[in-house]
């Protein structure tokens, strides 16, 4: 037991791992190894030479694995390194003959913040995603709680309808949404409000993962609260939500990141809008890569990409544990 504890510490400190489960099971692997070592001599009295061969093979295998992983990791981050070094490139133009620039400069960043509309795009995206994140999380959590805990007559039919709705490609109905927005917001249908409406209105459809999570929270808790006289609202807010930290973080994370990554809806809603200051980062940056702009703006694009990707990546890495839990939970339940 002590050994196992030590193993857990060891793995957590030195080499581990994404999640607690991962750490635990890494311990399992270690334990397995130990078990095997203790068992091996007892089985058919294996000869020393054979065991030496085994360990040699293991070392070889480990080395090979190490090499493969190192190579792959390098391959994996090359494009991102390319992005970063290109953002410091001094030579103008879209085409560069070499991976690393000859001339290093900060001008691209300076230009980004002084001569382009990028700061405006950035704040547009930021406030849109904050609003969306709040609304979407509220929607998703309340829908999934209702479906998971409350048995009402329309429950099954509603869940089935939502399942079917989710199977239509999301932007198939974009042109109809566009017309609806034009009717509802005749003065400014190509606005951030429209985008927020578009992002949030379909939010309830992705209740699946968090419903799966709520299903795993014991119902006995609800019943206990009920016996103590708590209303469903109180049970939800005071008992279930505090227990659901991981799924709340997952929902918030996903809904916060979505507007940063969306290109398709924003390009539809904002198509042909005269004021490019209304753009979000993805739309604005995509416009820099158009044929007539790319020569002038490519390095600026790289700088902007770094600025956009940094906080999102950091956020993701920081909350990765919850993301993995969400993905795994949702996938395994199907």
């Amino acid at each position: 037991m002590k050994q196992e504890q030590k193993n857990i510490d060891l793995t957590q400190n030195s080499q581990s791992v994404l999640t607690n489960t991962a750490a635990n099971s890494a311990a399992n692997w270690e334990e397995l190894d130990r078990l095997e070592a203790s068992l091996t001599p007892n089985i058919k009295g294996r000869k020393g030479g054979f065991r030496l061969g085994m360990s040699l093979r293991r070392t070889l295998g480990d080395t090979a694995g190490q090499i493969v992983l190192t190579l792959l990791s390098v391959v994996w981050i090359i494009p991102l390194i390319y992005l970063i070094v290109q953002s410091f490139r001094g030579e103008p133009g879209a085409w560069s003959p070499t991976f690393f620039p000859h001339e290093w400069t900060l001008d691209n960043y300076k230009r980004l913040f002084t001569q382009t509309q990028f700061p405006r795009w950035y704040f547009n995206t930021l406030w849109i995603s904050v609003v969306c994140c709040i609304v979407t999380s509220l929607f998703v959590l309340s829908v999934s709680y209702a479906f998971s805990r409350i048995r009402f007559r329309a429950r099954r039919p509603l869940m089935n309808i939502m399942l079917i709705l989710g199977m239509f490609p999301g932007f198939m109905s974009m042109s109809a949404v566009y017309f609806l927005l034009k009717i509802l917001l005749p003065m400014n249908y190509q606005s951030h409000l429209s985008l927020i409406i578009v992002y949030c209105s379909g939010a309830a459809l992705s209740y699946y993962v968090s419903k799966g999570f709520f299903d795993t929270v014991p119902r006995a808790l609800d019943e206990a609260a009920r016996i103590d006289g708590a209303s469903r609202f109180r049970t939800f807010v005071k008992i279930i939500l505090p227990l659901s930290k991981s799924i709340i973080i997952y929902t918030v994370l996903i809904s916060f990141i979505a507007p940063w990554c969306d290109y398709i809806f924003v390009s539809y809603i904002m198509s042909g809008v005269p004021d490019t200051g209304l753009y979000t980062v993805s739309l604005g940056m995509y416009s820099w890569l158009e044929r007539e702009m790319i020569q002038q703006y490519f390095t600026t694009f790289c700088a902007a990409a770094v600025i956009v990707a940094l906080p999102i990546t950091a956020l993701f890495m920081w909350l990765q544990k919850y993301y993995v839990e969400g993905v795994t939970g949702g996938a395994v339940k199907g």
Binding site: L69, W95, F168, R234, I264, S282, A309
Partner: protein
């Protein structure tokens, strides 16, 4: 898995499994239709029963209850639920106003040529012979807008449905109030009803707002777009200048026709979509799984570092990572067309092959699948790591004691377990890849084009979904085709989802994987 199975040889096992998969799939689809018919039957009998009950209550009720059948909420007002009664009454007034001044007109135009075919709307925009001095041209007289008629028609149908539901609820409550009064009970006040919304009817509170959003901005647009598939709405019938009209199943016939260029294009795009989804799903799944196993190996060091490096591609927003990839692969033709992508240069230096991303369909497709690995492998690695950890360690232990080689352990324990657990995930992922807009659109934009093979704006690496996007925006817009494609994508996803549904219900019976 029954005993017969173990008596079979390798090849026969495969056919056995295939046969089982097919029968299960068919059973699932059959079960779905059985449920559907059963549901419809229940629905119809429910309506009949409801109507019967309403008539019976009307006949049995007293004057106030009878009045509430004509003036909604009157029953509530007279029996101590004034606020609720007023809300019902306001609803009735609003509905009447809506129908008289707005919805009725649109509904009549909506259904005018619905069964016979023909234009939606009566007058087309035309240029009159009245000269407008301000604009310096002849005055334009605006006609009907077919799209608005369609949209408002659907909206009105749903408004009517909603109103009918409210009406039924109100008269039922009214009758109940009468009964309560007869036995001397007091109806609950508005405050208590409000408190009930946080407790017994908490689901109403939780669901109403999300459902309203879903309804207004997903359901109504979706119904409208589905109907577009049965019209001739395209660039030649663009609203508001022109009208479009009902054409029945003509668009579907054109899409599936064996001789037309459109039919050819559709089959090409569809087959590439399926090939792509298959390859993208399975390549990233297997490589991700192998990587997860490798990283979880005991002797490997710097696990966390490797994981972090590999996972960065999920974290970086796709429009950044894919666009930069597209630039790196650029060979001068497609993509951004500036040429000299760094990867293109490397491949030329190392292999002496000038890859033509965005110029040759085959090269582009290979590149897309490889780039998708870059995005997709970390994702499935994360997923597989989590699940691999959960494989009971005693399985491996006993296999080792029995002297099974690592390869054998992989094929006999790891793989079956993974398939068993991640089966639903694989199908979800397959559906996700059918709809994978980002990877295609941001990498190649669907190109390269080939006018001999493709028509109607489709290009060599277009999936159905990117084709749909192009058809609903820009120069190639053809809304009717976009709508048909949307319905087909739905059909594919629906069939696959039915398989998942069937699988997971089949799984429930089997407690352990075999």
């Amino acid at each position: 898995m029954d005993v017969d199975y173990y008596g079979l040889s390798g090849a026969k096992r495969l056919t056995w499994r295939l046969r089982r998969a097919v029968t299960r799939g068919l059973k699932g689809i059959g079960g779905f239709f059985k449920n559907l018919i059963f549901g419809i039957k229940n629905f119809v009998t429910g309506i009949f029963r409801g109507v019967y009950e309403l008539v019976r209550n009307f006949l049995a009720g007293n004057f106030v209850t009878k009045l509430s059948y004509f003036i909604m909420g009157s029953g509530h007002v007279f029996r101590g639920q004034a606020v609720k009664g007023m809300i019902y009454f306001a609803l009735q007034v609003l509905f009447t106003l809506y129908t008289v001044f707005f919805g009725g007109n649109y509904l009549s135009m909506f259904f005018e040529n619905f069964f016979t075919g023909g234009n939606i709307g009566r007058t087309e925009t035309y240029i009159s012979d009245i000269w407008d001095d301000e604009l310096n041209e002849y005055l334009k007289i605006a006609g009907d807008n077919s799209f608005h008629i369609l949209l408002y028609g659907i909206l009105s149908l749903f408004v009517i449905l909603f109103f009918v539901l409210c009406y039924v609820a109100s008269v039922k409550e009214s009758y109940k109030l009468e009964e309560m009064k007869m036995i001397g009970k007091r109806p609950s006040g508005i405050r208590k009803e409000g408190a009930e919304l946080l407790d017994g009817k908490f689901h109403v509170t939780l669901l109403s707002l999300p459902m309203a959003g879903l309804f207004l901005f997903t359901v109504i647009p979706l119904f409208t777009m589905i109907l577009i598939a049965f019209t001739n709405y395209d660039a030649g019938h663009e609203v508001p200048e022109r009208l479009f009209g009902w054409v029945g199943f003509e668009n579907f016939r054109n899409m599936f026709s064996g001789t037309s260029k459109l039919g050819d294009t559709f089959r090409r795009v569809l087959s590439w979509t399926l090939i792509w989804a298959f390859l993208a799903t399975f390549t990233s799944y297997f490589i991700g799984m192998l990587l997860a196993i490798l990283i979880n190996r005991r002797g490997i060091r710097f696990k966390k570092l490797y994981r972090t490096l590999l996972v960065t591609t999920i974290a970086v927003p796709q429009f950044v990572s894919l666009l930069i990839m597209s630039k790196m692969l650029d060979s001068g033709g497609g993509g951004f067309g500036t040429g000299g992508g760094i990867i293109t240069q490397w491949i030329e230096q190392i292999f002496g092959y000038h890859q033509q991303f965005g110029l040759k369909i085959f090269d582009t497709r290979v590149a897309i699948i490889l780039v998708n690995l870059w995005i997709g492998v970390p994702y499935s690695m994360l997923l597989c790591s989590g699940i691999l950890m959960n494989i009971p360690a005693d399985l491996y232990e006993s296999a080792r004691i029995d002297g099974a080689s690592p390869a054998r352990r992989f094929f006999k324990i790891t793989l079956p377990y993974m398939f068993f657990v991640t089966g639903p995930y694989l199908i979800t992922q397959f559906i996700g890849n059918i709809n994978n807009f980002n990877v295609i659109y941001l990498l190649s934009g669907g190109g390269p084009g080939d006018n001999l093979l493709y028509s109607d704006g489709a290009k060599g690496t277009d999936l159905l979904i990117t084709w749909l996007y192009k058809l609903s925006l820009g120069v190639d817009r053809n809304y009717k085709l976009a709508s048909v494609i949307g319905i087909l994508v739905f059909a594919i996803s629906a069939v696959l989802s039915l398989i998942i549904y069937n699988r997971s219900s089949a799984v429930k019976g089997e407690d352990n994987f075999q």
